[in-house]
Symmetry: C2
């Protein structure tokens, strides 16, 4: 099961009734956090998820509302007795920014391994997660992320029998390993069908609409996207500050066709995002106006 | 009127039901904030006080729970269109720490003037506030603060008449200025009685009990003090981490004899500070176990 929790839905500044936008993912005992603004650790505590299993933090960019909660979170992870290294990914300068913030969190019982994103699109694995980082279009260097849980093909037992392979060799083959039997090498693909559909969540905030977002969100189970402004008369403001209106987000979703879209990262001036839901659904029917703490459990398709 | 608001009452880490300890003071249109942990700006927003009039920030020390909310607050003050300089006081290194944190808040529409505390005790004026900073005993360099609103003596009209001073000269004398009249200099003290009792709030957290705290809190209207641990069996822990138990705080108050003591800065493990109120009141009867957002309005004594 792939747990998805949108910890907060605010942009720009935290509010008494709205945490800043951050996403927490959990699969196979390993957690990924995307962004960590002021108060993210409180939202996480409220939700009851553990701090210790956070193995990876993905930062979209270094505006305060996406990163100011980091020193406090790192200390709290330390207090939770984490000792395994933590991987932090982010745009160029990630190590400098995080280490500057660590002026108030200098001593941690775990090490941090930094990964600087350089290319327009990068692919990497972190624990069970296959991550794609894609550069978006904000007023500073900023990335969106797709996080996928791949799923192997189906094991073809009749084919393994045909090949005369004893049962005790099936399991390593199912796990993708090669085996040697009676002087011959048997590779996994000889007994496994083509990879099946896995699970994918795409997250992007703080950007104008781009083709890369459409591509990234294509086929996602959940596409989490900023909906900074509601009114159409905010178009100019969205362009000036390099954000999106709810309508623009819905247009992306219409093209990308994810299973569902969750809107988030509302402007502090946007008190009632629900007011814009009907209009957004006219463009992309499977739109949700998220509220803090929205959670989903994704499961692989039935065979 | 001197408004006092204890924004939060937590120590170590912010919790869903408890903001970190920080104090906001307001007098004559100028605000002072003491400490600024993660979430302080949210607590302030919840309380409805403005961000723009914060002229002075006093930092006790640089542990994250007292300073991690600073970059977000500075940005929010900028968004509130503050342009006047902001004064930040703190222990040695204050400029380095704040500027490191500003890696995520580099551009502000106001300047910051740093004041580094060096001596064991320092006295300074900031706007209408007379401040005493006193070093306490924590595991890093840490200060407590007394913030006083002084009150001039009573104007002696009969004395002014005796001196033959015309009424239009009374006001500058009342305000402490010298005046010249018919070739002679008249000083304020010639017509003003001795200073009357003003108002004073003393704030200290993150320290073992010391004589200096007793001295500082002496005669305070409100003595705000940490009560990190409740149970007496936490004595060893309090000594190890250089904090205080509620009983120790009450002992200080007993000696200092302030009008009232507000306890704060509870350990995250201290779920019900009220459980220790009766015991604390046996030592110092005017003890209050504060809750987030506790507010008081202090007024000068009736004449």
């Amino acid at each position: 099961m792939f747990d998805v929790c949108l910890l907060g839905t605010g942009g720009m500044m935290p509010l008494p009734y709205r945490w800043l936008t951050a996403l927490l993912l959990r699969f196979g005992g390993s957690q990924v956090l995307i962004d960590c603004g002021e108060g993210t650790q409180i939202a996480m505590k409220k939700k009851g998820w553990s701090f210790k299993p956070i193995d990876t933090i993905l930062l979209t960019h270094f505006h305060a509302d996406h990163v100011s909660g980091l020193p406090g979170l790192l200390l709290t992870m330390g207090n939770a007795e984490r000792t395994e290294p933590l991987h932090i990914y982010g745009p160029k300068g990630v190590e400098h920014v995080v280490n500057s913030l660590r002026v108030i969190a200098p001593e941690l019982p775990f090490s941090i391994i930094f990964h600087e994103l350089i290319e327009k699109e990068e692919h990497f694995q972190s624990g069970p997660y296959m991550v794609t980082a894609f550069r978006v279009n904000h007023n500073v260097n900023c990335y969106g992320y797709s996080i996928a849980i791949p799923r192997a093909g189906r094991f073809d037992a009749s084919r393994a029998k045909e090949l005369g392979l004893p049962v005790q060799l099936w399991n390593p083959l199912q796990k993708g390993n090669d085996v040697e039997y009676e002087g011959s090498i048997y590779t996994s693909d000889m007994v496994m069908g083509p990879p099946r559909r896995g699970l994918k969540v795409t997250y992007c905030t703080d950007t104008r609409p781009t083709r890369e977002i459409v591509k990234a969100a294509s086929g996602a189970d959940i596409f989490i996207c900023e909906g900074m402004y509601g009114d159409d008369d905010k178009d100019a403001k969205a362009i000036e500050h390099k954000h999106m209106t709810i309508r623009e987000a819905a247009m992306i979703a219409k093209e990308a066709d994810p299973k569902t879209m969750w809107l988030t990262h509302y402007s502090p001036s946007l008190n009632h995002p629900e007011d814009y839901l009907d209009d957004a659904r006219k463009i992309f029917p499977r739109t949700t106006m998220s509220r803090d703490g929205r959670t989903a459990v994704l499961k692989f398709d039935e065979d």
